[in-house]
């Protein structure tokens, strides 16, 4: 016997994402889902952001990695509440993983919660976790062809940080092409050129963050 069902396969995830979102907004927490390929500089950006804000805002971090606690230790060393999620192989965080750790964060004291997703330029863009916005990083060492090769994340992100611009002298990368292609995929994306090594561009990023929550 056959019967019709009309069910989105990711419905369960979307439902839990909406629950998370409600919990966050009730607690007054603005949530940023931070995505990039492995090593583009997510944790470095968080370190720079924490230092740049100098306690002017309550921050919290959820670290998502396949295994290990290195990134959470880096954040903890800066005195910011952090929870490590190990996905045990999964290539992205999903809404349920976030839901399970909500009790481990002092949400009442947090203005902006960063969720550092698993390093991966593809899959994290497919799964809502309860964020207000998605932000992505592309480091220039990855090459200027990335927006058109991995379009979804560029389309889904409200902001794109082009990181490691201190490496420009050593690379043949065309940063203008990254900008152009990202804007063609997503005309409203806000673009920042930054270096987490020299601190270049971090001020503009932090100013933008402050406008999000003010």
């Amino acid at each position: 016997m056959k019967f019709k069902v009309a069910s989105k396969i990711l419905d369960a995830n979307e439902r839990i994402a909406r629950e998370n979102r409600k919990i966050f907004s009730d607690a007054g927490v603005y949530v940023i889902n931070l995505m990039s390929s492995p090593g583009a500089g997510k944790t470095s950006l968080l370190e720079n952001t924490i230092k740049g804000l100098k306690g002017g805002m309550g921050l919290g971090v959820i670290e998502g990695d396949i295994m290990g606690t290195d990134d959470a230790v880096r954040i903890e060393n800066l005195g910011v509440p952090v929870v490590q999620i190990n996905t045990g192989g999964a290539c992205h965080l999903d809404a349920n993983m976030i839901n399970e750790v909500l009790g481990d964060l002092p949400l009442k004291d947090i203005d902006i919660l960063f969720i550092e997703n698993v390093g991966n330029l593809v899959c994290p863009a497919e799964f809502k976790v309860g964020e207000d916005i998605k932000v992505m990083i592309l480091s220039i060492a990855e090459g200027h062809d990335k927006p058109l090769k991995y379009p979804l994340m560029f389309q889904e992100s409200s902001a794109l940080l082009i990181n490691k611009v201190d490496l420009k002298p050593f690379l043949d990368v065309n940063v203008e092409k990254i900008r152009r292609d990202a804007l063609s995929l997503n005309p409203s994306v806000k673009i920042f050129e930054v270096s987490c090594r020299t601190g270049e561009g971090i001020d503009q990023w932090i100013q933008w963050l402050q406008t999000l929550t003010s």
Binding site: V5, K8, I9, L148
Partner: protein, 114 residues
């Protein structure tokens, strides 16, 4: 890459729908997969065959209907379908103000049960 978690959700939904109707065995599951959903049909089939064992879908087949990526152009008002996985511009007028209409689907549409 995350076909395993997709198949996990797919099996959860199918098993629940089947049981709710009083059946205990799934013979086939039909799904619609958009070409821009990020899910590869071959990888989905592979994960399905690996994960269905020890569920009431152990003997089930998976039928995948691929949905092309389509859009509507605000500038020239054309409805269009593209071969690619993403729309970069309207294929008729080259405009960049368009609305995606299909391509992100990831839906279960039919179950066959015994």
């Amino acid at each position: 890459m995350h076909e395993a978690s997709i198949v996990g959700s797919l099996l959860d939904i199918a098993v629940k729908e089947c049981r709710e109707r009083g059946f205990n065995k799934i013979a086939s599951i039909s799904v619609r997969v958009g070409k821009a959903s990020g899910v590869m049909p071959e990888a989905l089939l592979f994960a399905f065959d690996a994960m269905k064992a020890e569920t009431i879908a152990a003997g089930a087949s998976l039928a995948i209907e691929e949905v092309p990526v389509s859009g509507y152009c605000d500038a020239c008002r054309a409805d269009f379908t593209v071969e690619e996985e993403f729309i970069l511009s309207c294929p008729y007028c080259g405009g960049s103000s368009f609305r995606a209409q299909s391509g992100r689907e990831l839906d279960i549409i039919e179950l066959e049960v015994d």
